[in-house]
Each structure stands twice: as C-alpha cells, then as structure tokens.
C-alpha cells in the first residue's frame, strides 16, 4: 500500500483501505498498550479480592481481606495485632479503670487526611451510627453499646451497664470518621485518618485506587505510593492473574490453588493458622429419644472419622485438626482434647449405646463454598461413616439458597451440618459465647447455634463476662471450653490456615492470623 492512489483507484480498493483504517482505529489504542502485563507499574501495587469491596466502611459487612484495605484508610482506636491482642492506634491509652468504665486517651496529634484533628465527638458519633444501622454484622459481638463521656479534648470515658472486659477488642472494629460526615449506613466515600486516601472508587465493579496520604500523622509513611484494589470473583482468574503479573497479591486461596502456585519463581506464599473454625456440627434440635441426643453416640461417631487422611490427602495440609472448641490461635483458647480415629472403638461404643450396624442413617448438609474442599471432605466422611456401619446421605446447597432455614431447623430434618464460624474479635471467650452461649430464650426464635443450649456452659460464660480480673476470667473461659468439649458438639472440626500468595516484588507483607495485614508496612522491590 505504499504507492499513491492512482486517479482510477477502484472503489473496492478504497473500501478495503477504509476497512483497514477502521480496524486500525478500533484496535489501535489496544495495540498501543498491549504490553505483556500492562497493569504493573513500578509504583503501584494491585490487590485482587475474592469478594467485592462495596465500601471502605464496615458497618454492615466485613470480610477478611476487606479489613486490610479498610484499615489503610480508616482507623479505629485499637487494632487486633499479629498476636491477636489489642494494640493502640488512634488511642494511646485504653484501660479498664473501673468494672464498667474504660478510660481512653486519643494520641496526640492524630488527624484526618485533610489535616483536621480526630475529636472525642467523632468517637461518640461513630458508636451511635454503628448502633443505628440495622442488620449489622458487628452488633452481634456487642452485648451493649458503650456511652461516651468526654473528660477533656483528648481523654474520654466509655461506660457500660454491665462489665464488658473485652471492650478493647471490640473497639478495634469501630472505624472513626469525622463526625459531621458519618451516617448510619456504609460510607461510600469520605476521609479517614489512615496512611492512604481513596482517589478513585467504583462500587459497581469493586475497583478502588488508594494513594499515599501525604499528611499521615504516623511516623512511618507507607512505602508504596499507589495501591489498586480489584475484584476478581473466580479463584481461577485470580490465580492466573497473579501468575501473569497483573496483580501482586491474592488472599484466601484454596489448597488446590496453592498447589498450582508453589514452586513458581516469582511467587511467594504466606500461611498462618487462622481464627476460623470449620465444623461438622451435630443437630442439637433432635428429639430426646434420637440417638444424636445421646452424648455417647456423638462421641462414638467421632472415632469413625480419619482426621489425618482428611487433613493430609483431602485438604493437602492446608488445615490443622482442631484440638479444642475454637481455633487455637485465638487469645484464651485452650486445647481440650483430640479427635481420634478408631473405627473399632466407634463400632463398640455405638453397640454399647444400643446401635448396631445399619441402624443409624445420618444426613449431612452444607453450602457450596462453606470451606475449601467442602464437597471432597463430605464425600470422604461418607465413606468413613459407612465403614463404621453408619449410613449417610448428602445434601448440598448452592450459595444464596435455602440453607439458612435448614440451619434454623425450619427447612427440613438433618443430622450434621458442615459449617464455619469466623472470629473477628480474635478472642476465644467471645467466640465460645457466639457459638455455645445459646439459651432457651434464644431458642424460641431459633437463634441458637444449631440448637446448642447447655445451661452449664452458659452459666460459666455469664460468670466469665462478669469477671473483671483477667486471670480469673481466663480461668472461667478455659472451664467453659472444657465443658463444651465434654458435650461432643462436633463430628469433626478443623482450623484452616489463612493462605496468601504474592509476587516476590512485594516485601514486608506480614500476614496476621486475622487473615489481614498492614498495608502501610509493605514495599515494592524490583
């Protein structure tokens, strides 16, 4: 096409030229930047989340990976540190000064990204907004909302009706925003006091751009100037994108994906024991004459489960078999026993309880994706129980389906549910309370955990919550966990590791048991 068009350039050639030009115009801009990995630039780090970050607020929803990003923009008075104990952030003092009174002092010089100071009034507003919002995930962890009493422009008191000894843990979830801009809803925009500011946000697609906050109050400014947050729902997309270098960090990955990423030169994996516990939980709403209402039967069945095979072969070492009723990583968690594989003992104990081979058939239910490898675990458990002479039927629910009704005992009859329980407070006592603190009162509205109501356990928990001395409280918390274990609530339970994969150029990323990390501490190399 180098020669100039002769006078009689045919229509056809003209059209062809036009077509080529059009195609070039349509594809030109694509070709121009179709480098191998266009997304990566030296100063920007890209995170791919498995769930859509609908806002940088946590009043309604909070999933693990979101915490990392939320904390980079908005901060709380405290944070749950790597060892799952509270650390001061906006407050430099947070102390229990009386059984129902905490004294808090704001750190000197803390301010928002626009330079305005963090005020005591902002804390009071934040608490009232969290309280007003309905359907909040966090509200279930607050037995009551504390009242703020201002002492001076930095010091204030938090009052509660009854002792709330874990308030320093709980307040780590209350993000502080300028009071005038706070609302009783998820804040789609606005400013915070964190090391990053949001410069671009698209709720619809879950894409956010964070830039370094140049007026950050903290001594250490973040090393990475720009952080891009993207939403990639499919695990395979995230794995391929990480391999291709389009994204730098992906979190919450399954054992299978981890296997695909190990051994790649550019990719490093971090893994820590998690705070979540996944259980095969018995149905505690069975009639009294049902075998599962007999603690001996519940115990006997556990001997049928080969935990080691499940951990090593099915879940390829990505989990740890539980040795207590909550994750051992939680503060105050104690080992209460172990799940032992002994099929003969299982048969023997079942026979002793009057159940011969083939007498009992159990229905296992779970929701797809409740935990990684769920289907495989269930199918393997089916085989193990069969070997012990117990029949099993499986029923799987799709996400968003009917399982909440079944869980409440309204959907249909079941015997064992595959279920996970998260522990955002990092505290064993709060988690035990959440799962096993069910009362007859709550059971009236079916609001207990699979119908678990054991007065002995709730008595100990009540005493623990009223106890202000940390040591005595821990003593009671341990007692409660042992008491729960003795009731054999689970057929089997395990604690999944939090697994994160990153490009090696991302350094300084310290994954914490809460499955989040401090974004400001990361840096890029190479």
């Amino acid at each position: 096409m180098s020669q100039h068009g002769p006078p009689g350039l045919s229509r056809r050639a003209l059209l062809r030229l036009g077509g080529a030009a059009g195609a070039a115009a349509a594809l030109g801009p694509l070709g121009a930047c179709a480098g191998p990995t266009g997304a990566q630039s030296a100063g920007a780090m890209t995170l791919a989340l498995n769930r859509s970050l609908v806002s940088l607020d946590n009043k309604l929803n909070q999933f693990d990976a979101a915490v990392t990003v939320q904390r980079a923009v908005r901060q709380a008075l405290t944070r749950i540190g790597p060892d799952l104990t509270p650390e001061p952030v906006l407050a430099d003092r947070f102390e229990l000064t009386a059984p129902t009174e905490w004294t808090v002092r704001l750190r000197k010089g803390v301010h928002y990204s626009d330079g305005s100071p963090v005020l005591v009034r902002d804390v009071a507003t934040a608490l009232s907004m969290y309280k007003q919002v309905s359907g909040s995930f966090l509200a279930s962890f607050f037995p009551e909302w504390p009242q703020v009493e201002e002492v001076d422009d930095r010091v204030f008191l938090l009052h509660t009706e009854r002792p709330l000894p874990v308030l320093d843990y709980l307040m780590a979830n209350i993000l502080i925003t300028p009071g005038d801009a706070n609302e009783a809803a998820e804040l789609p925009s606005g400013i915070g006091s964190g090391p990053y500011v949001v410069t671009a946000a698209n709720r619809g697609t879950g894409t956010y751009t964070l830039e370094r906050n140049d007026r950050y109050w903290g001594a250490r400014r973040p090393a990475v100037p720009t952080v891009d947050v993207r939403f990639l729902p499919e695990e395979s997309s995230r794995v391929v994108s990480l391999r291709g270098g389009e994204v730098d960090v992906i979190d919450t990955i399954s054992p299978d994906s981890a296997e695909q990423l190990t051994g790649l030169p550019d990719i490093a994996m971090d893994s820590v024991p998690g705070t979540r516990i996944n259980q095969l939980f018995y149905n505690f709403r069975k009639p009294d004459d049902h075998p599962l209402s007999d603690v001996r039967v519940r115990e006997a069945l556990t001997f049928a489960i080969d935990g080691r095979t499940l951990v090593d072969d099915v879940l390829v070492g990505s989990v740890t078999q539980a040795d207590g009723v909550v994750s051992g990583a939680l503060t105050g968690a104690v080992a209460t026993g172990a799940y032992v594989h002994d099929p003969r003992k299982a048969r023997g104990l079942l026979a002793a309880a009057g159940i011969g081979p083939g007498d009992l058939t159990l229905k296992l239910i779970w929701e797809t994706g409740e935990f990684a490898g769920d289907t495989t675990v269930m199918e393997a458990v089916l085989q193990m129980l069969k070997d012990a002479g117990v029949g099993v039927t499986l029923q799987q629910f799709e996400p968003g389906g009917d399982i909440p009704q079944w869980r409440q005992g309204r959907g249909g009859d079941w015997d064992v549910i595959g279920n996970g329980f998260a522990s955002p407070t990092g505290l064993a006592l709060a988690t035990v309370q959440g799962m096993f603190g069910g009362t007859a009162e709550k059971e009236k509205t079916r609001d207990t955990y699979q119908g678990y109501v054991v007065p002995e356990v709730t008595d100990i928990l009540d005493r623990a919550y009223d106890e202000t001395d940390p040591k005595a409280r821990q003593e009671l918390a341990a007692q409660a966990q042992h008491a729960v274990w003795r009731t054999w609530p689970c057929l089997w339970a395990f604690v999944p590791n939090s697994v994160l994969a990153r490009r090696r150029r991302v350094r300084g990323l310290a994954l914490e048991a809460s499955n989040s990390y401090d974004l400001a501490a990361t840096r890029l190399e190479g």
């Binding site: 229509r11 056809r12 062809r16 930047c33 879950g206 509205t445």
Partner: protein
C-alpha cells in the same frame, strides 16, 4: 413519521414494562430468603425481621408490586442489598464495560465477517471456500466458555502476553473480544455469503452482466448494497443482544460488566439489583432495535417508514 416513532416508543416501553413485571413476579416466587442473604449467617431472627421491614419484604405481594411500580416511575429502583448502593447506580457503573466490550466485539465482527463473507460468495464452491466454511462451522460449534478458557490458557498462562481478567488496561479487552467475535464472525460471514450468493444469482444481476457490467462492479455496486439490509439487521440484533450482557464471556474473563453482575445478583438474590439490571438492559436492547428499524429507509429507499414496515 413522528407518529410512527411515538407508537414504536410506546410499544418498546410496554415491552420493557411487561418484562420487568414478569421478572418481579418470578423472583418473588423463588425459594431462598433475600433477607437472610442480606443479613448474613450471623443474623438473628430479630435482624431478619428488621431487614424485611426495611426493604418492605414483609408486605403482601400486590402491595410490594404497587410500591415497585410507583418507585420505578419515579426513577427509584431501590437499594441493592449486596452493594449497599442504589441499584440503578450499580448497573450504570457496570454498563460502560459491557458497551465497550459489545462495541469492540461488533466492530471486529463487522470488519472480519463482511469481507470474509464476500470472499466466500465470490469463491463459492471452491476447495478453499469449503475449507473456510468448515472452519466457520467449527468456530460456531465451540461453547464460548470453552473457547474463552482455551484462549486464556494459551495467551495468559502458557505465553503470558495478555491479561487474563478484568479491565485494568486496554489490552484486557483483547481476549474477551476475540472470544465473542469468533462465534459472531462465523455466523455473520455465513449470512453474508448466503445473501451475496442469492444476489449474485438473481436475474437483475444476470441482466446487468449481459449488459457488460464488470464483475467487480457487479459485486460492489449491485450485490453488496442489496445484501446490506439483512446483514446490518443481523449485526444490530447481535449488538442489542450483547448489550444484555455477554454473560458467559464476562464470567470467564472476570469482566466487570452487566453480565457478570447478573450472575452475582442471582446468586445473592439481590432483588432490586436483578430488577434494575433487567430494566436497563432490556430498555437498551429495545432502543437499539428501534434504531435499527428507523435506519432501514436510510439504507434502502424502497422501505418507507410507517408504510412498508407496518401493515
């Protein structure tokens, strides 16, 4: 003309309204509790009741419908449960991605399929044409999710030259576009070939040829313009369909468009979001269809709007 357009607009509005109403009824008959999926696994019965009240889910169905119609007429499509934002805004935020992908795919299709189809018609029944024809059949027989994953495996995993997912840079559009266009090129080029073939064999063309008109002119001045209408109609219809979300391809490539939004909205039973998506996409598709119909007389003077088309 104006009356015709107004009538067509009215019909379109009715179609969209009926569609949205049908969806409204359908999703409320569906099992699964939207309040439960909104409130999360930790929700108490009290929380659920509060959520139901907040979103009016405790009202009887006819009341919910009337409220819904009133809100829709005032431009309020409700708040998406899962996005915590106005459902309409969420859809609008996603829409540019779908229109971008649809436009790019339809352009590639047009620029590839028309020349290919013309070539096939002119070389009809040669061995090479037969080969291309069979290749077309193969391309049209591949499920889009499979060809997408295959392209992804080759160009993003084995030879990582293109991004596998999302739309962080313009290069991210290449693989989804090719995946969509592969099927469309196969379909449209065969249509072009058929139309061209019919025109090349038509008596008027034989007459023109006997008058000594050159083959080149026969193709370009006679056959192609006369084949244009069905081909452009087909392209327009495909484009309208793509605006409804290229669901499968968007899911394969994690493309943040309306299609992947639909899948997610259905999974989470996000009623307002499903409704808003249907309203926006159905409206857009109907509008594009209307524009195609209005464009007929521009392409073909034989068509008179309001006369030939209706009746």
């Amino acid at each position: 003309m104006v009356r015709y357009i107004l009538r067509r607009l009215g019909q379109s509005a009715l179609t969209v309204f009926l569609t949205v109403s049908a969806v409204f009824v359908l999703i409320r008959l569906a099992p699964g509790d939207p309040a439960a999926s909104f409130a999360g696994p930790m929700a108490t019965t009290e929380d659920l009741a509060r959520v139901r009240e907040q979103f009016g889910l405790d009202q009887p169905l006819p009341t919910q419908y009337l409220v819904f119609v009133r809100d829709m007429l005032t431009g309020n499509l409700g708040t998406s449960y899962s996005f915590q934002a106005p459902a309409f805004d969420v859809v609008i935020a996603r829409l540019p991605y779908t229109t971008t992908l649809a436009t790019s795919a339809i352009l590639v299709t047009a620029f590839a399929a028309i020349p290919l189809g013309v070539w096939m018609a002119r070389r009809a029944d040669t061995r090479r044409e037969a080969g291309v024809n069979v290749a077309g059949i193969a391309a049209q027989s591949m499920p889009e999710f499979w060809s997408g994953v295959m392209l992804l495996t080759v160009f993003a995993v084995l030879f990582p030259v293109l991004p596998a997912s999302g739309f962080a840079t313009w290069s991210g559009i290449v693989l989804p576009t090719i995946t969509v266009a592969l099927l469309q090129v196969a379909l449209i080029s065969r249509l072009v070939r058929r139309e061209m073939g019919a025109n090349l064999a038509a008596p008027y063309l034989v007459a023109a040829r006997s008058r000594g008109v050159s083959e080149r002119a026969l193709t370009w001045r006679y056959a192609i313009p006369n084949s244009a209408i069905p081909v452009l109609t087909a392209l327009g219809t495909r484009f309208a369909a793509m605006l409804n979300g290229v669901v499968v391809v968007e899911v394969v490539f994690a493309w943040p468009g309306v299609g992947s939004l639909v899948v997610r909205a259905l999974e989470t039973r996000d009623y307002p979001l499903i409704q808003a998506t249907v309203l926006v996409t159905a409206g857009l598709a109907v509008l594009v269809q209307l524009l195609i119909d209005l464009a007929y007389p521009l392409l073909d003077p034989r068509v008179r709007i309001g006369k030939a088309v209706r009746r």
